[in-house]
């Protein structure tokens, strides 16, 4: 059965079913991070005073409506952009980032895409092929080293992108709505896949989505983000023991609760100028 924490608690609890007990060591720490467009202080805020800590090995889902600044927040954590105010530290080191579009480079084969990440990390030439094959096998794409990007289905591409991200050997994996463009069946399978890989690798994951059910299905913690400017309004520790599936009643129950909260936030913008 599930036990749901109420909004506002800040303890990170973990269900007994999880084999990996997160340590207290943080992987990512955001301290009152604000961001304005173009970095100028007089421009409207995109993100307002966001404080967030992701523990090592923790799976955090960030939910919010479109345009709430979720992707900007991810770019900040990845180091692709700099915050206007506040600090971001990554005690766990560099972060890998997965996009909604698999963003594989079309002039390379599936295996070469993975090998490029290895090469840019400094892996020696003779080790690259074997390592790329190992990673492709990890995402169940053995034997597809020479496949061209356009020959792969959307789900397969996203798995190659996942293998490429894992090739970076970071301790942090950032995911920007990675399954939003996939069909529901493929997405469901990739949820299983992602959880399996997360358990195997013990990575810290920050998963951005606008799909509340997906967030509850995957995350140990769900952070709700409100818009204009983007800020965190609450979080839920997901404690669902046993099989957690997208159609599980426990997932649905918590998703309803979070969605209510999300709708409340959205309604507050009803009078905003367009």
């Amino acid at each position: 059965m599930s036990r749901l924490d109420s909004v506002g608690t800040h303890s990170v609890q973990c269900s007994v079913a999880d084999p990996l007990q997160p340590t207290t060591q943080p992987a990512v720490v955001l301290d009152r991070v604000s961001k304005t467009f173009a970095g100028a202080l007089d421009r409207p805020l995109v993100l307002d005073e966001i404080s967030l800590t992701v523990a090592a090995g923790e799976f955090v889902c960030l939910v919010g409506a479109s345009g709430c600044g979720k992707s900007t927040l991810l770019n900040l954590i990845a180091g692709l952009e700099l915050p206007t105010r506040g600090t971001i530290s990554r005690p766990a080191g560099k972060a890998a980032l997965l996009f909604q579009d698999a963003a594989l480079l079309p002039w390379l084969t599936a295996g070469q895409n993975v090998e490029l990440a290895l090469r840019l990390r400094g892996v020696k030439r003779r080790d690259r092929r074997a390592e790329a094959d190992r990673l492709l096998k990890l995402v169940h794409l053995d034997g597809l080293h020479r496949a061209r990007v356009h020959e792969l289905s959307g789900g397969m591409r996203q798995r190659v992108a996942l293998a490429r991200a894992l090739a970076q050997e970071t301790r942090i994996l950032l995911m920007d709505e990675p399954f939003a463009a996939l069909d529901a069946i493929t997405r469901d399978v990739l949820h299983d896949e992602l959880i399996r890989i997360w358990r195997t690798t013990g990575l810290s994951v920050v998963f951005v989505t606008h799909n509340v059910r997906e967030a509850v299905r995957l995350g140990q913690r769900v952070e709700l983000m409100a818009s204009r400017p983007g800020h965190l309004v609450g979080h839920w520790n997901v404690e669902i023991s046993g099989d957690r599936r997208i159609e599980s009643p426990a997932v649905a129950a918590l998703a309803v609760e979070i969605t209510e909260e999300l709708r409340k936030e959205i309604r507050r913008h009803a009078g905003d100028p367009r």
């Binding site: 079913a17 084999p19 990845a78 692709l80 560099k94 890998a96 980032l97 996009f99 579009d101 963003a103 480079l105 079309p106 002039w107 390379l108 490029l116 990440a117 090469r119 840019l120 990390r121 169940h140 020479r146 496949a147 061209r148 990007v149 356009h150 020959e151 792969l152 289905s153 789900g155 397969m156 798995r159 490429r164 970076q168 069946i185 493929t186 399978v189 299983d192 896949e193 959880i195 399996r196 358990r199 195997t200």
Partner: protein, 300 residues
């Protein structure tokens, strides 16, 4: 059931699920389509071309037989063929082809180097782009034959004058093609490179240049066409015995002798070189670039 047991069960389940999904997906087999259709594709593209050429030659012969024009204005296909055979017997055919092709190849390679460096500089420095970008684009539309008198005054009736005209004809196309290719690189690829840890030259080498290849290649192909045209213009006008025989010079000789079948033979040879280079060099490379990226749909 222990935790690791349940993990391995989950793994097997996910693996079979994914294997099922992957095989349900209508994915194109890369090897199969390429091989079996090679002969068919070749015959499919050659046969219509052969028929078109045959019809053209028959029409030409029919016009000649109908006698609308005298033979010194419109020679028959056979007379033109005899001119080519005569050139061969005089040993002029191969030396003319060789001289023109050699100049075109050297001129094109030099243009490639200059155009690539110029294109990269234009892509890298905005100030340079604003300053001479419009000029480079403008030069593309300037017929390079306009440079011939200037080149002859600067370099005399020499190979240098001919190469100058070829370069002025081809460099703008190549530089512009590369510039367009670089500017059309999807920003997403640049972000991917950044996330994967590519900086500076690595970004250029692993992301920007491969992504810009289709535009760059289009520029090179147009550059070759302009180089070949410019070369013919230069050889035709810069006419001097010490430049040796060439295709352009054959044209001029034919004109001086009012030998229409020699003029047509030269035109035919110039055209054949153009078609040959397209079929042997640029066509296959383009198909390869497009097929690699999934932009080419194989005829079925």
């Amino acid at each position: 059931m222990t935790a690791s047991d349940s993990t391995s069960v989950v793994r097997d389940e996910v693996a079979t699920l994914e294997a099922g999904l992957d095989s349900l997906d209508p994915v194109r087999d890369p090897g199969r389509s390429a091989k079996s259709t090679w002969v068919r594709r070749a015959s499919a593209s050659i046969a219509p071309a052969m028929i078109a050429v045959t019809v053209l030659i028959l029409t030409w012969a029919a016009l000649r037989i109908s006698g609308i024009k005298p033979s010194y204005v419109l020679p028959s296909p056979m007379e033109v063929w005899q001119s080519i055979v005569a050139l061969w017997h005089q040993g002029v055919l191969w030396s003319a082809l060789w001289n023109s092709l050699r100049r075109a190849a050297i001129g094109f390679l030099a243009s490639g180097v200059v155009g690539t460096v110029l294109g990269l500089l234009l892509a890298r420095f905005k100030l340079l782009r604003t300053a001479i970008g419009p000029l480079v684009s403008g030069l593309q539309s300037l017929p390079s034959v306009a440079w011939v008198p200037a080149a002859i005054i600067w370099f005399g009736l020499s190979d240098a004058a001919i190469y100058a005209v070829v370069l002025l004809g081809a460099v703008p196309s190549i530089a512009n093609g590369l510039l367009a290719g670089v500017r059309q690189v999807p920003p997403l690829y640049l972000r991917v490179g950044q996330v994967l840890g590519a900086r500076g030259l690595n970004t250029l080498r692993f992301v920007v240049l491969p992504a810009a290849l289709p535009g760059y290649f289009a520029g090179l192909r147009q550059g070759w066409a302009f180089a070949w045209r410019s070369l013919m213009a230069a050889e035709l006008i810069a006419f001097s015995p010490n430049l040796g025989t060439s295709l352009g010079q054959l044209l001029q000789t034919g004109r001086d002798l009012s030998d229409m079948s020699l003029v047509l033979a030269a035109i035919l040879l110039i055209l054949l070189v153009g078609v040959g280079v397209e079929l042997i060099v640029f066509g296959p490379i383009e198909r390869r670039i497009l097929r690699t990226r999934g932009l080419l749909v194989d005829p079925r």
